[in-house]
């Protein structure tokens, strides 16, 4: 039924367009306006440009102000404050340029529309002007680049020694999380060791891996540096934590990293937003296949004390599945057994 109605609608529309078209062709032939350089529609188009300028300008400002709290996600990391500030500075600079150039672009057509009485002014060049509008954007851009570069250098600098390490591994189509345990050092891994019971491919012959533990969500302390060590098991993925202003690709064969300092606990953010259900989320932002849109992981930011308490409660891979310790060399086996007795 809908299909039929749509079909009729399209047919009607086409026939109306056809008639309008024929009529206006005939009219223009009768009036001889097709011989003129610029017909009456020249004025109509000139006016439409001005209307477009005013209309779209109002719409843009109205929507940008009305929706601000919706599209401006609250910030929950230290560097996020910096990058967002840069974002809004850039917005101010480009916004001014945007407005000025568009006002000129749409006012000129109105002001200088064709008139037979007038002749355009022959103004082929002005080197002074060219130099000015090469140098001024150059200086403005240099300012933006340098501030951006300083922020970028800080963000990508090596993580502080004491940063809490969390490994995030992407695979089709989920994330897995591994913590380094009490030694804060992740054990080695090798993708050839991956089995059903060892999805991370952790190499348990490495002493550092004995206390490593998995977690269904990323738990991190507020106000302390956190280092995400990121890797992928099959294809490219990308860790994106929008509230943390954090993004880094997960690359098979090439571990990547991103460190940051969370500034608000989940509870604080829930209160701020008045949303008791709120969770920080990780999404995937590198196309990875059918389930690309469903790779979600929750980040829970807690107070440092609560974090220490949570750490102490976690069970290592070995504790959860003692069979992983089978066949290990004597030295590591001993460590594993100590773990198991805890």
């Amino acid at each position: 039924m809908y299909g039929f109605l749509i079909g009729v609608g399209v047919l009607l529309l086409l026939s109306i367009i056809w008639m309008v078209y024929r009529i206006q062709t005939l009219v223009s032939v009768v009036k001889g306006s097709d011989k003129k350089v610029a017909s009456g529609s020249n004025k109509v188009n000139a006016i439409l440009f001005v209307l477009f300028l005013v209309g779209s300008g109002i719409l843009m400002f109205w929507y940008s102000i009305k929706e601000f709290d919706n599209y401006q996600l609250p910030i929950a990391s230290e560097h996020g404050m910096v990058t967002d500030q840069l974002f809004w500075i850039t917005m101010a600079v480009t916004g001014v340029v945007f407005l000025i150039t568009h006002v000129l672009l749409f006012i000129f057509p109105y002001k200088y529309q064709y008139s037979e009485k007038r002749k355009a002014s022959f103004y082929p060049d002005n080197n002074k002007l060219e130099i000015i509008w090469t140098i001024v954007p150059g200086i403005v851009l240099a300012g933006l680049v340098i501030s951006g570069w300083m922020a970028w250098s800080d963000i990508t600098a090596p993580a502080p020694e004491e940063a809490h390490v969390v490994e995030i591994m992407g695979y089709q189509f989920a994330w897995e999380v591994r913590y380094p345990g009490t030694d804060n050092v992740l054990g080695d891994y090798d993708y050839r060791l991956i089995t059903a019971s060892n999805s991370h491919g952790v190499d348990f012959t490495d002493k550092n891996s004995i206390d490593d533990f998995p977690s269904p969500k990323v738990v991190i302390p507020k106000g302390e540096p956190v280092l995400f060590k990121i890797r992928a098991r099959d294809v490219l993925h990308s860790v994106f934590a929008p509230h943390m202003r954090l993004k880094m690709d997960a690359v098979p064969g090439m571990p990547t990293r991103f460190w940051f300092v969370p500034t608000k606990t989940t509870a604080e953010m829930r209160e701020e937003l008045g949303d008791p259900e709120f969770e920080y989320e990780i999404a995937c932002t590198e196309i990875c296949g059918r389930g690309h849109f469903s790779m979600k992981k929750v980040i829970e930011v807690v107070e440092p004390e609560a974090y220490q308490k949570w750490l102490a409660e976690q069970k290592s891979f070995i504790q959860m599945n003692p069979s992983l310790a089978e066949g290990l060399p004597a030295e590591t086996k001993e460590l594993a057994e100590i773990q198991l007795k805890k």
Partner: protein, 628 residues
């Protein structure tokens, strides 16, 4: 006396010319070596692909705008990709996005724009009989055609076309286990792209050779229309960057079929560990973007060239800063090769490299800004005639500004952390590259249609087409900035899994409706195009009262373009509204000595030189005549 001898020569050459060609249907319309027909072939093929590419985008916009919609009515076209509940298959959604990107970037905006107008305009505007090699030019089209056939077939195979995004990053594109489209679909994609690259190179070599060698007498580089400068530089960029894409694709073929590990390492997929080690997916990204970024300028520069010409003509004013325009295009050409890694700030490459590429990227904004200011100054105190071509050119400048400015955000690596691969990027490149280039294409078609087909397109349908498209494009892409700032990732089948993105269903619906209307508006153009081709008003020889050489050809130029001698060029192409001149334009073929009333002081000095050269020419002509 002089004119008499020229006229004699004209008729002689004309007779000669007519005997030379015996075109039948096949050599005239199919395997033609006439650059004008090849240009039209590119145009029509490009329009076909634009409809396909646009239609694919409507399909995925339906999914994004109306996720709950029952799409069973699409089953006649999409078959099994619509499941029993009437929902679109998520894998096919990715294939749609991939094919939309590939088709639009390569088939529509590279072949359809640069292929059409480089072919059509270069010989006409520089005063040449044809391209340097008509045969290579023909091959260029037919490689493109073959490439299109293969890509088209890939849309219909059982496992679906390539689905790894138009950038086809491995390992996703290398492993059939990862996504079904990486099987036969990806193979066909690679084969099609290989033919496409061959087509681009054949075309590019031809454009460059023709511009360098076949300019008519007097057509120095400093008298070339900006269109030709743009096509020339575009061809240079293509010639230097497409081979790198070929290399990237070739290594991908090795990885896919011959067990090498250029891009693959440490992969566990489908329950088994693959033997590949030591490869780097980031290597592919470097190679791909070494083409991928210049590609942006391959599609944009011709559009900017066309706009320069159309704006100058319809402002009845010389383009402001002709030399500055050329220098900024040269700057863009060179810089376009050293900014590629700004697509990779968060790919895991060394952050130091990120800093370098941020500096280089923001430098490229300067020549772009200069171009915008020059366009604005050209409009200033002009005498503007709003032909449809002019409207589309002004629209292009608007998109170029809007999309260019958001590039300043994305080129800043610190800000890009948040915005990378969100809808902000989608909005950015659809405005600055997609829509701007598309508007350049439209401006070109409206402007040169009278030359191509000897008839005028209907102006009012053109106005309706312009306003619907211009407003439509902004309604589609402007809201995407908000969605992007809110962090919505690209290439998502649905956002409802995430709390932070579980909003803006209204805005997405709005965007989808706007997209459908904008797409529908294109059929006004299609109608206008084909109707005017047969029933449009007969064009006059120089309908826009333009200066360039193509308007000195007959209404229906034959193969060889000018009956008789190719005209000589005496001035630059932008002598509009010159003080002292009676008309508001002086074609390039009018000698300076014929216009003493409007010559500038430095031109007056050239008159003597010009007269000497003309005298010599005449002697040569007379000598030739007596030999006959």
């Amino acid at each position: 006396m002089a004119s008499a001898s020229v006229a004699n020569h004209d008729t002689a050459a004309h007779d000669h010319h007519d005997h030379e060609h015996h075109d039948n249907f096949v050599t005239k319309y199919i395997f033609t070596q006439d650059h004008k027909m090849i240009g039209k072939q590119f145009l029509i093929t490009g329009m076909f692909w634009a409809i396909i590419g646009g239609f694919l985008s409507i399909l995925f916009r339906l999914q994004l705008g109306f996720p709950e919609m029952d799409m069973s009515f699409l089953r006649p076209i999409l078959g099994g990709w619509i499941d029993d509940t009437g929902a679109l298959d998520p894998t096919f959604y990715l294939a749609l996005v991939t094919m939309h990107g590939t088709i639009m970037v390569f088939f529509v905006l590279t072949a359809g724009l640069s292929g059409t107008f480089s072919n059509y305009l270069i010989p006409l505007q520089i005063g040449a009989r044809d391209m340097a090699s008509g045969f290579m030019n023909m091959l260029s089209y037919w490689f493109f055609f073959l490439s299109g056939v293969i890509m088209f077939i890939s849309l219909f195979i059982k496992t679906g076309p390539a689905g790894g995004g138009w950038v086809v990053y491995p390992p996703l594109s290398a492993l059939e286990q990862a996504i079904p489209g990486s099987g036969l679909g990806m193979t066909l994609w690679l084969v099609a792209m290989t033919f496409f690259i061959a087509s681009s190179l054949l075309g590019g070599i031809n454009y460059i050779t023709t511009v360098i060698n076949l300019r008519t007498k007097g057509m120095s580089f400093s008298r070339l229309p900006l269109t030709i400068w743009a096509f020339f530089l575009t061809a240079v960029i293509g010639l230097l960057s497409f081979p790198v894409l070929f290399a990237a694709a070739l290594l991908l073929v090795f990885d896919r079929s011959f067990g090498t590990s250029f891009y693959l390492s440490d992969i566990y997929i489908g329950g088994e560990a693959l033997p590949n080690t030591g490869g780097s997916p980031v290597l592919y990204q470097h190679l791909f973007w070494f083409l991928g970024h210049p590609e942006v300028y391959i599609v944009l520069l011709p559009a900017l060239g066309i706009t320069s010409e159309v704006i100058a003509t319809n402002s009845r004013k010389p383009i402001f800063g002709y030399k500055a325009m050329i220098i900024s295009m040269l700057g863009i050409t060179i810089l376009s090769f050293i900014v590629w890694a700004h697509h990779m700030f968060v790919s895991g490459m060394n952050p130091f490299l990120g800093s370098i590429f941020m500096f280089l990227t923001l430098i490229i904004a300067v020549p772009s800004a200069v171009k915008v200011f020059n366009y604005l100054t050209t409009l200033w105190r002009g005498n503007l005639i709003f032909t449809p071509g002019m409207l589309f050119s002004i629209g292009l400048v608007s998109f170029f500004i809007s999309g260019g400015l958001t590039g300043i955000f994305l080129g800043n690596s610190a800000i890009d952390i948040q915005l990378h691969d969100t809808y902000f990027v989608v909005a950015h490149f659809h405005l600055v590259m997609g829509s701007a280039s598309f508007f350049g294409l439209m401006a070109g078609v409206y402007h040169w249609f009278p030359k191509m087909f000897g008839r005028m397109m209907d102006a009012r349908l053109g106005y309706v087409h312009f306003w619907l498209t211009f407003v439509g494009v902004y309604l589609v892409f402007f809201p995407m900035h908000y969605i992007g700032i809110a962090g919505f990732p690209r290439r998502y089948y649905s956002w409802t899994n995430f709390e932070f993105a579980n909003m803006y269903t209204d805005l997405n619906m709005f965007v989808s409706v706007a997209a459908i209307i904008t797409f529908a508006a294109q059929f006004i153009f299609i109608f206008n195009f084909f109707y005017s081709m047969y029933r449009g008003r007969k064009a006059t020889l120089n309908p826009w009262r333009s200066n360039t050489l193509e308007w000195t050809t007959p209404l229906y130029p034959g193969h060889g373009n000018w009956p008789g001698e190719i005209p000589t060029v005496y001035r630059w192409p932008y002598d509009y509204s010159k003080p002292g001149a009676e008309e508001d334009f002086i074609p390039q073929t009018v000698p300076l000595s014929a216009t003493p009333e409007s010559n500038l002081p430095h031109e007056q000095e050239l008159v003597k030189l010009e007269l000497e050269i003309m005298k010599e020419d005449e002697e040569v002509l007379v000598a030739n005549e007596s030999k006959h």
